[in-house]
Amino acid sequence: MAWLLLFAILLITTETALVSRFPALLRNFRYQSLCLALLTLLAAEREASPELYVIAGLLFGLKVLLIPHLFDVLIKRIGASEQVGLFLNTQVSLLLAGALGLLAWAFAGALIAAPAYLTQATLGIACYITLTGILLMVTRVKALAQVIGLLLTENGVFLAATIIPGGMPFFVEIALFFDILVSVMIFGLFIYRINAIFTHIDVSKLAGLKG
């Protein structure tokens, strides 16, 4: 089951490189977060840990329901176009994502010894998501797409945290969720401001400061 979910995460992440519209990008983020929540649920069941149940619930509530909803509202409010705006076209993005995947795989293989295949795969895919998130942030021009890229990156970090038996210390994890929520709100606020001042959210045109 864990393998299946990991494979699903791998597919979803790869597909984000091909996406060029916000609703699709958001949907990908939603599905990825859902898989992550389910993985955490599996771990909670395996280790009979009530703390992990709480975390799986929080993942579901925050990253599958609340944050995507906030983005939906934001997109409607500022009336932005649905295009994420591509610096690189989707084919090149996909190729780059593939290269990053190889890199992540080699990285995980070098760090985790042979018999722990599940840990190895989890770390590899976590690293892959993190790198792909950054790739999206660099190669998409709209401010919103950058924030979603950042959230994907964070999903990668959360996935990496599942390789620690029992997860991260409970209070740290709770505080992390709080932090993510606050940062998403602040990002949203700044997107409003950018939209109000520049009348667009195209980051490639924010080039007033140089040198």
Partner: protein
């Protein structure tokens, strides 16, 4: 009303400064290691950073008095926004004080993330096109960086868990079991940490957000960003560095710090020479000084570490003074474009004099404090047999010093091109300049015993004893 809030704010930060001084005398000079409930931990290194933060924050609180009043008078901000400023100022300072007090690496991460989130509002404070652009870059780039740092923290936890079965993010625990960790895992984790926190610490080539954010922020806050926030992030790297050194020996860590340090110096050098904006010039100079500190850490001898930690404090006070002066100039001239500013010593005698002394100190002329710490750093390179590094340091310092002298000579002397508004010097800037100059000149002449003992104790902490 605003004036009273500002005065209370300044008094409150003075009280904090006294407390920080007391803490340094007690913990630093006594070389104590205190911890409370596993969550908080203080040793000489933290006490030193707390004093640095408190010094710059208090000076910034003093300078805010007159700066905010002038902004109000010019109609740049509303009274409500001024109150909002003081609230953000205190939240920001609070988050920075939290960083050196925390034992838990997860919460340390959070405190640093919190500093970014809060200060982004202070960077975008004026809500102009430029400031919002700078705030956005700052938020996005530092958030990516900090996410990578979290990845590193998770790898560290995993390394600890898989080696000892302990599930803890407390760095005292991590240090105690450093010998048993898997070195490869620790090295990989540290790369993430270094890239992550290095982004926030402004180490080149991860510095691209820094000149924008530091030049667009409201000036008292620019001083806090350049003077202490960069060092908060560096502090996190240092804490991990102690563990890495204990786990896989010094060379790995040293080489990385040397590389980033020297690279930062080179990048800063190029941009300082070609700079056209006063506040950006100071921001690039911060990259230079962070690079110097990183080189000192990388050299890793007691002398070099002593110099690096002393430089950390010296740069904080000198750069704070420079940003206050630049803020005052920007307010009076209505621009921070270097080509439009000249004759500051004539037009604004007090600010001009403070800037003249400050820029000489920043370049590294004796008897400025920076001269002493740079002298320690360069001698440490030669004493340690690193002749190439010592030579490079001297060369870059000379070129950067020349460039700064050229830029500041044009700004400070000559005839004012435009007649600046409000030439009368308000009390807030007098006080803040005076307070900082005590350290800038004083530490160049002699280092008090308390500070010397604390620095030595902090060097001991860095060397893992």
């Amino acid at each position: 009303m605003i004036k009273r809030v500002g005065t209370i704010n300044a008094l409150w930060h003075f009280a904090i400064w006294l407390a920080a001084l007391f803490l340094l005398a007690k913990v630093g000079a006594g070389n104590l290691k205190l911890s409370w409930g596993g969550l908080f931990y203080v040793d000489a290194l933290s006490a030193l950073l707390i004093l640095t933060t408190a010094t710059v924050t208090f000076a910034a609180a003093l300078f805010s008095l007159s700066y905010i009043a002038a902004d109000l008078a010019q109609g740049k901000i509303s009274p409500a926004k001024a109150l909002w400023y003081y609230l953000l100022f205190n939240l920001f300072a609070g988050a920075m004080f939290l960083v050196p007090l925390i034992n838990n690496l997860g919460f340390l991460w959070m405190a640093i993330e919190l500093t970014t989130l809060i200060s982004s509002f202070l960077v975008g404070f004026y809500n102009t096109k430029h400031s919002v652009e700078a705030a956005w870059k700052y938020l996005i780039i530092c958030s990516v960086g900090i996410t990578l740092a979290l990845f590193g923290a998770i790898l560290f936890t995993y390394a600890l868990q898989s080696a000892t079965g302990l599930k803890s993010l407390n760095w005292t625990v991590l240090l105690a079991s450093a010998g048993q960790l898997n070195p490869n895992l620790v090295k990989a984790a540290f790369i993430f940490i270094l890239v992550g926190y290095g982004t926030k610490a402004g180490l080149a080539p991860l510095h691209t957000w820094l000149p924008d954010a530091h030049s667009q922020a409201i000036s008292p806050v620019s001083a806090m960003l350049s003077g202490v926030l960069l060092k908060c992030s560096l502090y996190a790297i240092l804490r991990y560095g102690i563990v890495v050194t204990a786990c896989c020996g010094a060379p790995f860590y040293s080489r990385l710090m040397l590389f980033f340090g020297l690279f930062s110096l080179a990048v800063a050098c190029i941009f300082i020479i070609t700079q056209k904006d006063l506040k950006r010039l100071l921001a690039y100079s911060s990259i230079e000084h962070l690079g110097l500190i990183a080189v000192g850490i990388g050299l890793n001898s007691p002398l070099a570490l002593f110099g690096a930690l002393l430089h950390l404090f010296n740069h904080a006070v000198s750069k704070a003074l420079m940003f206050f002066g630049a803020g005052r100039i920007a307010q009076a001239y209505g621009t921070h474009d270097l080509s439009k500013i000249s004759g500051v010593t004539r037009a604004l005698p007090v600010t001009g004099t403070a800037l003249l002394i400050g820029s000489c100190a920043l370049i590294g002329f004796p008897p400025g404090a920076i001269f002493i710490s740079e002298f320690y750093l360069v001698s440490a390179a030669f004493v340690g047999g690193h002749y190439l590094i010592g030579g490079l340091l001297l060369g870059w310092l000379a070129v950067i010093g020349g460039a700064l002298l050229y830029h500041f000579g044009k700004v400070l002397f000559g005839k004012p091109l435009t007649q600046p508004v409000s030439p009368a010097e308000p009390i807030g800037s007098w006080l803040s300049y005076g307070f900082l100059l005590i350290f800038i000149i004083g530490l160049g002449i002699f280092i008090p015993n308390v500070l010397r003992q604390s620095l030595n104790a902090a060097v001991g902490v860095l060397r893992g004893s």
